[in-house]
């Protein structure tokens, strides 16, 4: 066991005295022996308000510091409606993000040294000058619009504004097309309003919650998890549809183990029962909806008996669950879920869910969906923003009418060498996002990246994208920086402040500072007439009757609602659609050539020899960004690939074994993954948590390697295995659930031999031969070492 030298030196001086002490007294002399860190007392704590940045739920909380200014813990803010004073594991462990010693520490610039591409440590001035110089060059050659921004989180807006001020509005959030754009489109087409975040579901009063495509509890959407827990207490019904026996399935009244890719059939069959058995809310339908007759006629062919053959769910269960929903109406919620880009008909599927909610009368009703309210802060005065010649709209909306935000994949397509059109992308900014893991089709992304003349990455941690960047800028974590006020919607409108608890560690800087300094170098001083971002926020807060000073004390401030939360009885209500009603039959879709009513379409079967790859979340991680967080790494250090025991038997795979995956295109996973043989997964699928298998590694000229040392090479990245993306026609959403893998206990040979291109940029990332070798060594090591340390207790 470790022997602490510090203790030894300290104790040797007093050991003689110690012997003479009686055991009772020795407690009093504790401080003589060792300064043990005592838990922080509530009364000794310095509390600084924060808004968690580990996930988009953005819970407000308090950072607890001791008198030495060390961050000790983060707790929820009791009056915050997102968290109700209880943060999820990621929020509680958020301080690990600050303490992580693998963080990016200084600005880095790509240089060539002895024919090798490495990074050189630079000052902020050097790095920002280089970026400004390159931005100007790109502007001269291609125009400002050719600089694209990919962003995520609260730092994103600083850079989005910077580029907008400068003249480029070519941007996209990978989180949009990869995740919830399809859902938003489905609800906008139906209700004329999207759902935004947090979803305005009144789970606290509902009687029946239907989860189809949502694994609450594993997704740890804090407020909703708490709501569901309260629902369990009240004894409400939960119906969970999932091919996997998810955590929430275990807490549900009814679990429907559906065959993947057939959700639409179930939704249509539910409509069929609800309409034919008159379980719908007739008054509501009559008053607020448009196209009920068309819908009723449309769903006649979709009987539960028909759906049984497709979904493998017994028709009796479909009847039963539909009747449960009908009985609870209008206090029923078909939960919209969040990541809804699955199979390429996702807008239609989410529309089917929206329609179900509509005919059950839950929109705008207690126990259904409430009308959220929020505070809008005025923007700080600035000159008029220049109008670019083209923006993300020209790229995305030509093809997809419902693309109301930049579509990452479309922008990436415009960055490929083969693209010859007018909207070329020649430089990229990545702010707090890692496209290699976040966007499907890794090979295409890499080709797009290599076709860029300049890439900037702003992040707190080294990841794959930092290896492709020309300049890497270390950002301060959310505990060290000031960001926009959180103004998200909720039952009661509220604002929340994130205030820096400590000074930025290392040579990192807050996002606003980086954006502003770069803006000044680009000659945008008119847009940055403030010195400190705090002044901007203070001005904004004062416009709505608060102030920085007040917010620092309370963290979260509530405001009175300006509009009612639910529909009054027989209230006249105008929905923001063409007909002014809830469009069960979408007139827009009809006009644009999309299907006005959702239809079932088969997505094919699993090819023989393969299993469907289902990816999902772990409650203690937000994908790749938290994996290296020391506290959260402690909670889950590697992913487990779930396999049904029947399949495991066929393949001869044992619990805890490390295996490789290969997709039908021949791509072999870079690393291995540990198998969990479990009954919780269907025989035709495997489940893999998203975000693992990190292989980002950069070399710096002082001989150091920057990587996420804890998580590097652990597990398989599901993004890497995705071989086909089904594009949703309405939105451009990227369906990624139609992907398959085969299991291999020995490393398989790739089917196609890839040509090793001599590209300068690829070297920094690391060449493929080395990768193979490392993977082999790693796998051997992991088999030997990890078997010994197996976490699994022998089942007795």
């Amino acid at each position: 066991m470790s022997f602490n030298r510090r203790n030894f030196i300290k104790i040797s001086g007093v050991a003689g005295a110690g012997v003479a002490l009686s055991p009772k007294l020795s407690g009093a002399f504790q401080s003589f022996f060792k300064e043990e860190k005592q838990p922080l007392k509530e009364s000794d704590a310095i509390k600084v308000p924060t808004v968690c940045e580990i996930c988009f739920w953005n819970c407000a909380g308090w950072v607890y510091k001791d008198k030495e200014n060390n961050i000790r813990k983060i707790l929820g803010n009791d009056i915050d409606p997102h968290s109700n004073g209880r943060l999820c594991p990621r929020g509680t462990g958020g301080l690990g993000m600050y303490y992580d010693e693998d963080r990016l520490k200084t600005p880095l610039i790509r240089v060539e040294k002895d024919g090798k591409q490495i990074f050189k440590k630079a000052t902020w001035d050097e790095a920002l000058d280089l970026i400004a110089k390159n931005m100007k060059t790109i502007d001269k050659k291609y125009g400002k619009e050719s600089i694209a921004l990919f962003y995520h989180g609260k730092t994103g807006p600083h850079f989005k504004h910077l580029l907008q001020y400068w003249g480029s509005d070519t941007n996209a959030k990978p989180a949009s097309a990869q995740c919830l754009i399809t859902r938003e489109a489905g609800y906008i087409a139906t209700y004329g309003a999207g759902l935004a975040s947090p979803e305005p579901t009144d789970i606290r009063s509902t009687d029946c919650l239907v989860l189809i495509g949502s694994h609450i509890g594993e997704n740890m959407h804090n407020g909703h998890v708490q709501d569901v827990s309260e629902l369990i207490d009240r004894g409400g019904d939960i119906i969970t549809v999932d091919p996997r026996f998810s955590t929430v399935a275990s807490h549900s009244t009814k679990w429907l183990p559906i065959k993947p890719s057939t959700d639409m059939a179930l939704l249509l069959a539910w409509m069929n029962v609800i309409i034919n058995e008159n379980l719908y809310d007739a008054d509501y339908v009559k008053q607020y909806t448009y196209g009920f007759e068309e819908l009723a006629a449309h769903v006649q062919k979709y009987t539960p008996e028909w759906a049984q053959g497709i979904t493998t769910i017994p028709a009796a269960d479909i009847y039963k669950t539909a009747r449960m929903m009908g009985a609870a109406s209008p206090k029923v919620i078909i939960h919209p879920g969040r990541h809804t880009a699955w199979y390429g008909d996702d807008t239609q599927r989410t529309r089917a869910m929206a329609i179900l909610n509509a005919i059950l009368g839950s929109w705008g009703r207690k126990g259904g969906f409430y009308f959220p309210d929020k505070i809008t802060l005025p923007t700080y005065p600035h000159p008029e923003i220049p109008k670019p010649r083209w923006t993300w709209r020209e790229i995305s909306q030509g093809k997809h009418k419902m693309a109301f935000a930049g579509i990452t994949n479309e922008i990436m397509d415009h960055a490929l060498p083969e693209y010859k059109g007018p909207f070329k992308i020649k430089a990229m900014f990545f702010v707090a996002t890692n496209p290699i893991q976040a966007i499907p089709e890794e090979q295409k992304i890499i080709r797009a990246l290599k076709n860029q003349e300049f890439i900037v990455a702003v992040d707190t941690m080294p990841s794959e994208i930092t290896g492709y960047a020309d300049v890497v800028l270390p950002e301060a974590t959310f505990l060290e920086r000031l960001d926009d006020i959180r103004t998200s919607q909720h039952k009661s409108p509220n604002i929340a402040l994130r205030y820096p608890a400590v000074k930025p560690k290392y040579d990192s800087k807050p996002g606003w500072w980086i954006a502003r300094e770069l803006g000044l170098k680009l000659g945008l001083q008119d847009f940055y007439r403030w010195e400190n971002f705090e002044d901007v926020l203070d001005w904004q807060l004062k416009q709505v009757g608060s102030s920085m000073e007040e917010m620092k004390k309370v963290g979260v401030k509530h405001f009175p609602r300006k509009k009612p939360m639910f529909l009054e009885k027989d209230e006249e209500y105008w929905f923001n659609t063409n007909t002014g009603k809830i469009e069960l039959y979408s007139t827009d879709f009809d006009e644009w050539g999309y299907k006005p009513l959702p239809e079932y379409k088969s997505h094919g079967e699993v090819p023989s020899g393969y299993l469907r790859l289902i990816y999902g979340r772990l409650p203690m991680h937000t994908f790749g960004r938290t994996l290296n967080n020391p506290n959260l790494f402690d909670l889950k250090s590697e992913p487990l690939l779930w396999i049904n025991p029947k399949i495991a038997k066929i393949y001869g795979i044992e619990n805890g074994q490390y295996i490789w995956l290969q997709n039908p295109k021949g791509k072999v996973s870079s690393f291995t993954v540990k198998v969990r043989v479990t009954e919780r997964i269907r025989h035709d699928s495997v489940f893999l948590p998203h975000g693992f298998g990190n292989k980002g590694r950069i070399f710096v000229d002082d001989g150091t390697v920057h990587e996420m040392s804890r998580t590097y090479g652990r597990g398989i990245s599901d993004a890497e295995m995705i071989h086909q993306v089904s594009i949703d026609p309405e939105t451009g959403g990227t369906g990624m659930r139609n992907n398959f893998v085969s299991l291999h206990t020995e490393k398989p040979k790739p089917v196609k031999k890839k040509k090793v291109k001599k590209d300068t940029k690829s070297k920094v990332d690391k060449n493929s031969v080395k990768k193979d070798k490392e993977a082999k060594v790693k796998a051997k090591d992991s088999l030997a070492v990890k078997k010994k340390k197996s976490l699994l207790k022998d089942p007795k």
Binding site: M1, I11, S26, D634, E679, K789, L792, K793, P795
Partner: protein, 331 residues
């Protein structure tokens, strides 16, 4: 199918998949403790029976080793502690409930007496050595004698000890029995481990300890009579040990599930071969046969069965320490 797994990574030293914080040092410590107890037991018993001069090795010489054996054991024990610098805390309190506490105190007592015992015999020891023409150690014995006579207090203590040797022999006899039992009870006090948690283990360890003690004397004694006596005693002890082992396993087999599983470790489980072949076969039955053969007149070097018994004693403790930690209540 039943499945049970840890959600969070809890890769803590010695906890998973089974508790394993004790290893060879503790097994060796228990072995040495039992050995020392056995040697002292014979020394005091035969002294009290007035056979000091008949059996000089048993009574006068063998105890010299006990002090060294105990010291080696203590070093191993302290080595195995994780908070070594606080070891003095052991002697700040006396806790009757904790075998480790009274065991530690017993060890102190035994080590003091096992040091005084041979010191008080220093002249006899020298005579014993001279008898066998072993003069190489004269320097040492002279030094010790000088040391004792130089100061008043040690001299006084030794004189007192000689004077009231019978009284001290009784105390040492009791202490050595306690020490022997302690090495067994130490393990059986842990109710988290069904294999350890049975009432036979204490006596079994005591008998095994005494048996190793007799084997030790048998091995090093030059006196034929002594050897023959020890050999006989050892045979009896081995028989008792075998009886206890059968008893223990039968008791566990008749117990609740956790105890059956504990017994299974020896009945087809991980430790079956180690236990039955190495310990019972080579550590008990074989020396028994060899001793019986010698008794019948076959010439067998006494070191062979003695070393086998000693090896068996050590292996037995290694098995018990390791297997015991594997034996847990099923979750």
């Amino acid at each position: 199918m039943e499945e049970q797994l840890l959600v969070n990574t809890r890769d803590i030293y010695g906890l998973y998949p089974h508790v394993h914080v004790w290893g060879f040092p503790i097994a060796a410590y228990l072995f040495l403790g039992g050995l020392a107890a056995g040697i002292l037991l014979f020394a005091t018993i035969y002294y009290l029976r007035g056979k000091a001069d008949e059996m000089p090795f048993t009574v006068k010489i063998a105890p010299i080793f006990t002090f060294l054996i105990i010291m080696v054991g203590l070093v191993l024990l302290v080595y195995d502690l994780h908070h070594k610098l606080y070891v003095w805390q052991l002697f700040m309190t006396f806790r009757i409930e904790s075998p480790m506490s009274w065991g530690a105190w017993t060890l102190v007592g035994v080590s003091v007496f096992s040091l005084l015992w041979p010191l008080s015999y220093i002249d006899d020891i020298e005579a014993y050595l001279h008898e066998r023409n072993w003069r190489r150690l004269d320097g040492v014995t002279n030094f010790i004698r000088k040391f004792i006579h130089k100061w008043k207090i040690p001299h006084f203590i030794i004189l007192m000890f000689r004077k009231y040797r019978t009284f001290f022999a009784y105390i040492l006899l009791i202490l050595s029995v306690i020490l022997g039992i302690y090495t067994g009870i130490l393990l059986s006090a842990f109710n988290a481990h069904p294999l350890w948690n049975n009432s036979i283990l204490g006596p079994l360890f005591l008998v095994s300890g005494v048996s190793t003690g007799s084997a030790f004397v048998m091995w090093l004694s030059n006196n034929k009579k002594e050897r023959a006596l020890m050999s006989t005693i050892d045979m009896v002890l081995i028989a008792v040990e075998l009886f206890f082992i059968v008893h223990m396993i039968m008791g566990m087999q008749a117990g609740p599930e956790a105890y059956k599983q504990a017994a299974h470790l020896f009945l087809g489980g991980e430790f079956t071969v180690m236990f039955w072949v190495v310990f019972v076969g080579f550590g008990l039955v074989l020396p028994f046969i060899l001793e019986a053969m010698e008794f019948k007149g076959f010439h067998i070097h006494p070191a062979v069965p003695a070393l086998l018994v000693l090896m068996g004693g050590l292996v037995f403790r290694i098995i018990m320490v390791n297997a015991g930690q594997i034996s847990e209540y099923p979750f």
